[in-house]
C-alpha cells in the first residue's frame, strides 16, 4: 500500500496550483488578444462567413374548380445563382459560366452580365430564374464551386386562357394584379422561410442551412365548373365574332345558392401571358357599367306589382308608338296597340312601361331599385367590382327621370347586378349574394343570408304571367328551349356618347333569364356591346342563352320539365348530377 505524507501533498498542490494559474494567465491573455485586440478582424471574418440570408418562397396554394379540377397550381422551380469564389482566376470564372451557358441555354448577353457581376465581386447573382427541376439537377451535377440553387416555385395554369378573368394571373416575378390570385393572395401565398448561407473550405465553397421552414399556402376551391366555363367561353366567342360586338360577357349562376358556375368576358387573355394591359384585362361581367334598357323592367314591374299599382289585365294605350315625358320623347321599337300590363312587358313596350311606372313615386321606385341591389357592389369575391350608378331620389329630374329609369336609362348597372336581380325571381323574391369561392376563402360577408326583395307571390305571378311568356312568345322567343320551361327578359339600350352629348345608333344588347321554372337549375345573363346588324337583345343574346342553356342542362343531366318534341325518350332512375 502506497503512503502519502502531508508535506508531499502540499508541495504537489503548490506545483499544480502554479501550473493551473499559469494556464489561466495564458488563456486570459489569449482571450484578450482574440476578443479585444482582434475584435475588428474577427467580426469581419464572421460577417464574411455568414454571407447572406435568403428568403425561401413557400409553395402557393392551388385554385381548384368546384369538382377539384386544378385551375392554378405551383410546382417547384428553383433559380440558379452564383457567388464569387476566393482565389478563382477570371479564366476559371469564364469557364464555369460557359458550362452554365451550355447546361441552361444562356444567351451571350446573360454570360456577359454574369461575368460582369463576378468581376464586380457582387455577392449574389441570378444565373437563371425558375427553371424546371430536371435542369436544376443537371446544373448541380456539374458540381461548380459557388453555384447554388435557390428554392422557388412556378405558377402553372393547365387550362390556359380558361376563366382568366376569374383567376387573374401571376408572372414569373410573382406580380399579381387581378382576380382570385389577387383577392386571396394572403391565403394562397403562405409564409416565407429563411436560409442562411456560409462560406466553407476557406472561401472556396458555400453551404446553406434552413433557419425557418416556409409554410405552404392554402387551396381555394371555386364555384366555377371548368366544363361549363368552357361551354360559356366557346359560345360567347362565337357570338362576339358573329355579331362583330365590341365586347361581350356571360355569367351562369346556380339560382338557389348564388354560386357562379361560369363567368366569361371578351376580349380576354391567356393567364400564361400575365400581366396584360388594356382592354383585355377588364372583367366586363363585374367591372363594366352600362345602361341596361329593357332588362331593367324586371325592377319596374316588381315595384308596381308589389305595391298593387297595376293589375295584370289592366290595359294601356300604346298605339301612338311614343310618349312625351318632361321634354323627351320615348318611343317603342315598333308601334303596338292597346296592351295589357303583361303584354306591355312581353312585347317590351316602352310607352306602356312608362304609363304604369308613372303610378309610382320617385322614393318608392328608388327604394325598389336599391332593394334589388343596384347602385351597390354585389359582394362577389373578385377585385375591382363596379357599383354601377343610381342617383339618389333628390337628384332625379322630377319631370322625366322616373320614366327614364322605368325603361332602363339614367341608370348604370353591371351584368352581375342584373343577373342577381333576375335571380330574385328564380329564388321566389329573395336576393342571394353571388359568389365564386366555394371553400378556402371564408369571410365575414359569407354570413349574409338571402334578403327579401319582393313577396313570393309577386315573384311567382310575374314569372308565370309575364317573364315565361317573354320566352314563349315575346321578344325573347329565340331563347326558347325544347323540353325546358324558361323565363327571361330582353334588353336593348342605345349608347350615350359623352363627346356629342347624345344617344348614338350603337346599342348594348342583353338577355337575362333562368330555366327551368320549377326548381331553377341555372340563371344566366348574356350581354353584347355594339353588335352589328342584329342588335336587339332578343336577336343577338337570346340565341346565345339558348345554346349555352341547352348544353349546360345536358351536362348537369337535368331532365326536361315539359312536353318534348316527338321521338325524345325519357326514363325514370334515381340519381342525377348536381352542379
Amino acid at each position: 500500500m502506497r503512503t502519502f505524507h502531508e508535506s508531499d501533498i502540499r508541495r504537489r498542490v503548490k506545483v499544480l496550483s502554479f501550473i493551473l494559474a499559469g494556464w489561466g494567465v495564458i488563456v486570459a491573455a489569449r482571450l484578450v488578444q482574440v476578443q479585444v485586440l482582434g475584435h475588428a478582424r474577427a467580426k469581419e471574418a464572421v460577417l464574411n462567413q455568414a454571407r447572406s440570408r435568403v428568403k425561401i418562397e413557400p409553395r402557393r396554394g392551388n385554385i381548384l374548380d368546384r369538382s377539384g379540377e386544378i385551375l392554378a397550381c405551383s410546382l417547384p422551380a428553383p433559380s440558379v445563382a452564383i457567388r464569387p469564389v476566393d482565389k478563382e482566376t477570371p479564366a476559371q470564372e469564364r469557364d464555369k459560366v460557359l458550362k452554365l451557358k451550355r447546361a441552361l441555354g444562356l444567351s451571350e448577353s446573360d454570360v456577359a452580365r454574369i461575368l460582369g457581376r463576378l468581376r464586380d465581386d457582387a455577392v449574389y447573382t441570378y444565373v437563371k430564374e425558375k427553371i424546371p427541376e430536371e435542369a436544376a439537377a443537371l446544373v448541380m451535377g456539374l458540381k461548380l464551386p459557388g453555384v447554388e440553387l435557390e428554392a422557388g416555385t412556378r405558377r402553372h395554369y393547365p387550362h390556359g386562357p380558361l376563366a382568366s378573368h376569374i383567376i387573374g394571373g401571376m408572372n414569373l416575378s410573382g406580380e399579381i394584379l387581378a382576380g382570385i390570385e389577387s383577392r386571396y393572395d394572403a391565403i394562397l401565398r403562405g409564409q416565407e422561410g429563411e436560409q442562411i448561407t456560409y462560406r466553407v473550405r476557406g472561401g472556396r465553397g458555400y453551404q446553406s442551412r434552413v433557419i425557418k421552414s416556409p409554410v405552404p399556402g392554402k387551396d381555394i376551391t371555386l364555384t366555377i365548373d371548368a366544363t361549363i366555363q368552357y361551354i360559356v367561353e366557346k359560345e360567347l366567342a362565337k357570338a362576339v365574332t358573329e355579331h362583330g360586338a365590341k365586347w361581350g360577357t356571360v355569367i351562369v349562376m346556380d339560382p338557389p345558392s348564388g354560386e357562379i358556375l361560369a363567368m366569361a368576358s371578351l376580349p380576354a387573355y391567356d393567364v400564361k401571358d400575365f400581366p396584360v394591359t388594356g382592354e383585355v384585362r377588364m372583367n366586363r361581367a363585374i367591372e363594366a357599367g352600362y345602361e341596361p334598357g329593357s332588362t331593367f323592367k324586371l325592377v319596374t314591374a316588381a315595384a308596381a306589382r308589389e305595391r298593387n299599382r297595376v293589375g295584370f289585365s289592366e290595359l294601356f294605350d300604346c298605339s301612338a308608338g311614343s310618349i312625351r315625358v318632361g321634354g323627351t320623347t320615348i318611343t317603342d321599337h315598333e308601334r303596338e296597340h292597346i296592351l295589357s300590363f303583361s303584354q306591355v312587358l312581353i312585347k317590351s313596350s316602352n310607352v306602356g312601361t312608362v304609363l304604369f311606372a308613372q303610378r309610382l313615386t320617385i322614393p318608392e321606385f328608388h327604394e325598389t331599385i336599391k332593394a334589388f341591389g343596384f347602385g351597390a357592389k354585389t359582394g362577389i369575391e373578385l377585385p375591382a367590382e363596379a357599383k354601377g350608378s343610381v342617383k339618389p331620389p333628390e337628384e332625379w329630374n322630377k319631370k322625366n327621370s322616373l320614366a327614364h329609369f322605368a325603361i332602363g336609362y339614367e341608370v348604370r348597372v353591371t351584368a352581375i347586378q342584373t343577373l342577381t336581380s333576375m335571380n330574385v325571381y328564380a329564388k321566389g323574391g329573395l336576393r342571394v349574394r353571388p359568389h365564386v369561392v366555394k371553400s378556402g376563402g371564408a369571410s365575414a360577408e359569407d354570413a349574409d343570408g338571402p334578403a327579401r326583395v319582393i313577396s313570393e307571390k309577386t315573384a311567382a305571378d310575374l314569372v308565370e304571367r309575364v317573364f315565361s311568356h317573354v320566352v314563349e312568345e315575346g321578344t325573347g322567343k329565340n331563347s326558347r328551349l325544347d323540353g325546358y320551361s324558361a323565363a327571361g327578359k330582353t334588353g336593348t339600350a342605345q349608347k350615350w356618347d359623352n363627346a356629342i352629348g347624345a344617344y348614338t345608333r350603337e346599342y348594348t344588347a342583353s338577355f337575362v333569364g333562368f330555366t327551368p321554372l320549377d326548381r331553377p337549375r341555372l340563371s344566366m345573363i348574356v350581354v353584347l356591346d355594339e353588335p352589328k346588324e342584329l342588335y336587339y337583345g332578343g336577336q343577338a343574346c337570346a340565341p346565345v342563352f339558348k345554346d349555352i342553356a341547352r348544353q349546360v342542362l345536358r351536362f348537369l343531366r337535368v331532365p326536361p320539365d315539359r312536353r318534348l318534341p316527338p321521338k325524345v325518350l325519357t326514363a325514370e332512375v334515381n340519381h342525377g348530377r348536381k352542379p
Partner: protein
C-alpha cells in the same frame, strides 16, 4: 506525519461508481447516436415524401392539362369523330329525390 490508508471497501465502492458512470455514459452516447441516426432517417424519409408529393402534383398538373375541355373536345371531334347526340338520342335520368 500522518499516514492514510486506502481500504478495500473504498476502492471497491469507487470502482463500482466508476463502472456505473461509464455504463451510464456509454448508454447516453449510444442513445444520442441512435437519436441522431433516427433523426437523419426521418429527415431522409421526409425528403422522399416531399419528392413523391411533388411528383404527384406534377402528375396532377399533367392530368389537368390533358383533360382540358378544349383539348378533349378537339380530339373527340377531329380524331374520334364525335357528333353531338340529337335530342331524340338522349335518355334522361330523372331524379325522384330532392335536388
Amino acid at each position: 506525519m500522518v499516514r492514510r490508508k486506502w481500504n478495500l471497501k473504498g476502492i471497491a465502492a469507487g470502482a463500482a461508481l466508476a463502472t456505473a458512470a461509464i455504463g451510464i455514459l456509454t448508454f447516453y452516447i449510444w442513445y444520442q447516436t441512435e437519436s441522431v441516426k433516427l433523426g437523419l432517417d426521418i429527415g431522409k424519409n421526409e425528403g422522399r415524401i416531399r419528392e413523391i408529393e411533388e411528383s404527384i402534383e406534377a402528375l396532377e398538373l399533367r392530368k389537368a392539362t390533358l383533360l382540358n375541355p378544349g383539348r378533349v373536345e378537339k380530339i373527340a371531334r377531329e380524331s374520334l369523330g364525335l357528333v353531338d347526340p340529337a335530342d331524340e338520342d338522349i335518355v334522361y335520368q330523372r331524379s325522384n329525390g330532392p335536388r
